[in-house]
Symmetry: C2
Amino acid sequence: MKIILVGASGTMGKHLVKAFENEHEIIKAGSKSGDILVDITSTESIENMFREAGEFDALISTAGPTHVGSWKTLNDQTFRKGVEGKMMGQINLVLIGQHYINSKGSFTLISGALSHDPQLNFANASAANGAIEGFVRAAAIELENGIRINAVSPTVIENSRQYFPYFPGDIPVTMKQLEYGFRKSVFGANTGQIIKPY
Amino acid sequence: MKIILVGASGTMGKHLVKAFENEHEIIKAGSKSGDILVDITSTESIENMFREAGEFDALISTAGPTHVGSWKTLNDQTFRKGVEGKMMGQINLVLIGQHYINSKGSFTLISGALSHDPQLNFANASAANGAIEGFVRAAAIELENGIRINAVSPTVIENSRQYFPYFPGDIPVTMKQLEYGFRKSVFGANTGQIIKPY
């Protein structure tokens, strides 16, 4: 299977590359490094990525920039980080990528428990995740040619220890659990699902 | 109670004005008519509205422009209608309005069942609603001074018959049910809730 992995150099991306690269062709895409450089806040850059990658079977996105900071720092401007990044960035990967993906291909986006289980400092991510989840359910009934779409929604992940203090009482999702979430979406048959790998 | 109603001249707004105006002071705000004109896609216009209205006890928003149209018409540009309108428009009403609202005041935004129950042609609204719901849950744990926030989430409403063909099998929410949803948020004590008035 030919898989484009957007966010390949991040904490989640690196693990998924290792997990999948022996059995599949992985096109690593990222904002700073990878086989293809892509800025997901630019529709032109996304178009260029798909043109360069050519036909593919699955897109995995682990790219989710959002504004993290106290409620007082939240305003229209800071909110845009999550709107342009995790939300519209990922939505545009699908709206544009649908024209390049093979029949029966799949899109797997990254959401997160914050959509339903908020934490202080993360309201921007809560909104972006909620948008992604609503979009995934809607896109699933619109996409044609057997193309599927899901989102993986972890809590804080074990390799992001710097976030632990912000998620009191959350049992960290292991990298293996996270990987299983993506496996379920990419290699399973479900669509329109928010997969909680825990 | 002094209530600012954004979207006062719309289908929902008109009903709520009638329902509440005998017992409460209603400041009608809208993009085309009302006591105060406001363009919720402009933070400057929102600031002006709050300055003009002065201190208040509750804000109700029924303002939710989104792009309605076939999946093929959906791209980064058309998606912005819901992002700037129903999503950021309402989020900015809260981020800005929190500096003007009285202690123990409340914000009540409009969402919709499309966040979890998609219909063809409404993916933009599904995403915007999902964002609003995630934001409401997050804002509820951030707002101080007893300020509350909820969203009302109807299915298609009885006075919007033009939308009935798009919502096959959905039992329309009556205007009275919708009103009860807003009553629950504004006059009750809950916060962070997505109120389904059906």
